[in-house]
């Protein structure tokens, strides 16, 4: 019983990382209706930026903050430079365009940082003992960030004028435009914010694992699964499905380790076949 509890706790920390990254994708989709395949690349960039900044500033908090902001700027530049020209095209074209961006970012990173995965020294936050097992304190940092983000997003969407604009745009773009909302400003902001979150996720993983090529490809699939499962563009849905995927993977690793590879696809397929619009429906 204790083991299962611990496994769920471990799953929670995984889930929160998935949530931070995939809510960025969800947010971008909700506002712009673009499925951004390059989101994973932004995640990778977040890790590499933070790595470079850490070597320079030697401060983890500073490098995470600056690194993810820098990724936000890269996202903004991509949107202004390339993606915005494809808003009028069907979703599939944007997928292919952002796939092209993925290829470009992969090689740029390889060119700048080389292909050897890199690590920073561990933060040395230590562990706490829960249910007779050791649990890294850093995982609490990730969980805290995730929950904090949840609160911030709620605040942002419900209480601020920007949130109102965003909700208006999500529900009806034409009406929003008629009411004097400049959608391009909002699109640009959503890409900045979404990419910032991807970068934040990437930077947050740095003390746990390494900055490596191809790390974006692994996370993008999870982000897609979570975004689709929760309901495209639905932030609440993204939160719930992050939890489902994170915890079920963790439990699967305990009960049926050899099936962990497929569990998230099984869940996704089941959810979609029963409820194609996702758990909470499309925003």
């Amino acid at each position: 019983m204790e083991a299962i509890f611990f496994q769920i706790l471990v799953g929670l920390s995984t889930a929160m990382l998935y949530w931070v990254v995939s809510v960025g994708l969800t947010f971008i989709f909700g506002v712009t209706r673009v499925l951004n395949f390059a989101h994973g690349s932004f995640y990778m960039l977040g890790a590499f930026f933070a790595l470079a900044l850490f070597k320079w500033t030697n401060s983890f908090v500073l490098s995470i903050a600056l690194g993810s902001l820098a990724v936000g700027v890269v996202g903004l530049l991509c949107e202004r430079g390339v993606i915005r020209f494809t808003y009028s095209l069907p979703v599939a074209f944007q997928l292919v365009l952002t796939f092209g961006l993925v290829l470009i970012f992969e090689d740029l990173v390889r060119f700048i940082w080389g292909s050897v995965p890199q690590m920073i020294r561990p933060l040395g936050l230590g562990v706490v003992t829960i249910a007779g097992r050791r649990f890294p304190i850093y995982s609490f940092v990730i969980m805290g960030t995730g929950l904090f983000l949840w609160i911030i997003l709620y605040f942002l969407l419900l209480e601020t004028k920007l949130g109102l604009m965003i909700r208006a745009t999500i529900s009806d773009i034409e009406l929003a435009m008629a009411n004097g909302i400049n959608p391009h400003l909002l699109y640009a902001f959503s890409f900045f914010f979404g990419s910032f979150l991807a970068g934040l996720g990437g930077a947050l993983t740095l003390p746990m694992c390494s900055a490596s090529l191809g790390m974006g490809e692994r996370i993008i699939i999870y982000s897609f699964i979570i975004t689709v499962m929760g309901g495209l563009g639905n932030i609440k849905g993204a939160f719930m499905s992050s939890l489902i995927i994170g915890i079920s993977e963790s439990l699967c690793a305990f009960f049926m380790p050899s099936l962990t590879i497929a569990i998230s696809y099984v869940i996704l397929a089941l959810v979609l076949v029963v409820k194609p619009e996702g758990i909470y429906g499309e925003a």
């Binding site: 499925l35 599939a92 365009l97 290829l103 992969e106 897609f224 497929a262």
Partner: protein, 320 residues
Amino acid sequence: MERLSNKFLFFVLTSILLLTFALPLLSGAYTNYIIIKISILSLYAVAFNIMFGYCGLLSFGHAIFFSASAYTLGVSLTKLNLPIFVALLAGLLTSVIFSIIVGFLSLRHKEIHFAMITLALSMLFWGVVMKWRSVTGGEDGITGISRSISMIAYYYICIITVLSCLFIIYKIIFSDFGLLLEGIRENEIRVEFSAHSVVKLRMLAMIISGLFTGIAGILWAFLDGAVTPTIAHWSFSAVPVIAALIGGPQSFVGPIIGTIVYVIAEDFITRFTLYWQIWLGIVVVLIVLFFRGGIVGTIAKVVSEFYHSKLREKYREREN
């Protein structure tokens, strides 16, 4: 205009055809190999485009049909030692069965939901392929699928098979059935009100698409003599998507052009640099940005505009 472009197209196609058949006599083995690859992937892309271009359904699950037939063939030949015709039939049958299953689960849904369900099913299938090691060989896949004929002979077999498949697909698309599919893409509800079951029509399209994808899968399995899980992975489902979008999903030749452009660009780039991704990425981005709606669509538009402006000039001259 229509007539002219048709004649031109006919001329181009015939010369390409003749060249393709004469090529093994003129060029090196590698060129032949690449042409086989292009032809197989073209068939894959065109078969995929039955769903995408004509039904308006973006499938991310065609790797299932592709790998289902390839794996069935591989297993029947190397593990069960069945005769080749039985293996071929079994392969195609598996593709059809899987297209029915996938269709049954996904066809009620549309747009991005359809894409995502097919993606999920495709990854599920990939998981099975990876895990069912006693049959599929896991990550290593199945090797030793013997083609037992020379590459040149195989070249002709591939070209002829692909061309006849393309011809059949062409006939299907420009038949009444194709008109109905186009109708579905245009206006689904109207098709329903015209007393056609959209789901049934789509299912039929899915089966046809799956069948031809299966044929491509079989040709692929024989080409390298090996089947590995990479062809079941979602990224292999993305291959025809990219081809169709680059070439132009609204036309029959679009996916073929897309495949040719992509394969040749990739081949050209990897010849010179290990940093192939960045160049390929730039090519893809530029094509999406500057050939909006695909190469074929854009070229057709430019040509027709050119033609119209010529006409206008003529009128102006006459007026003057």
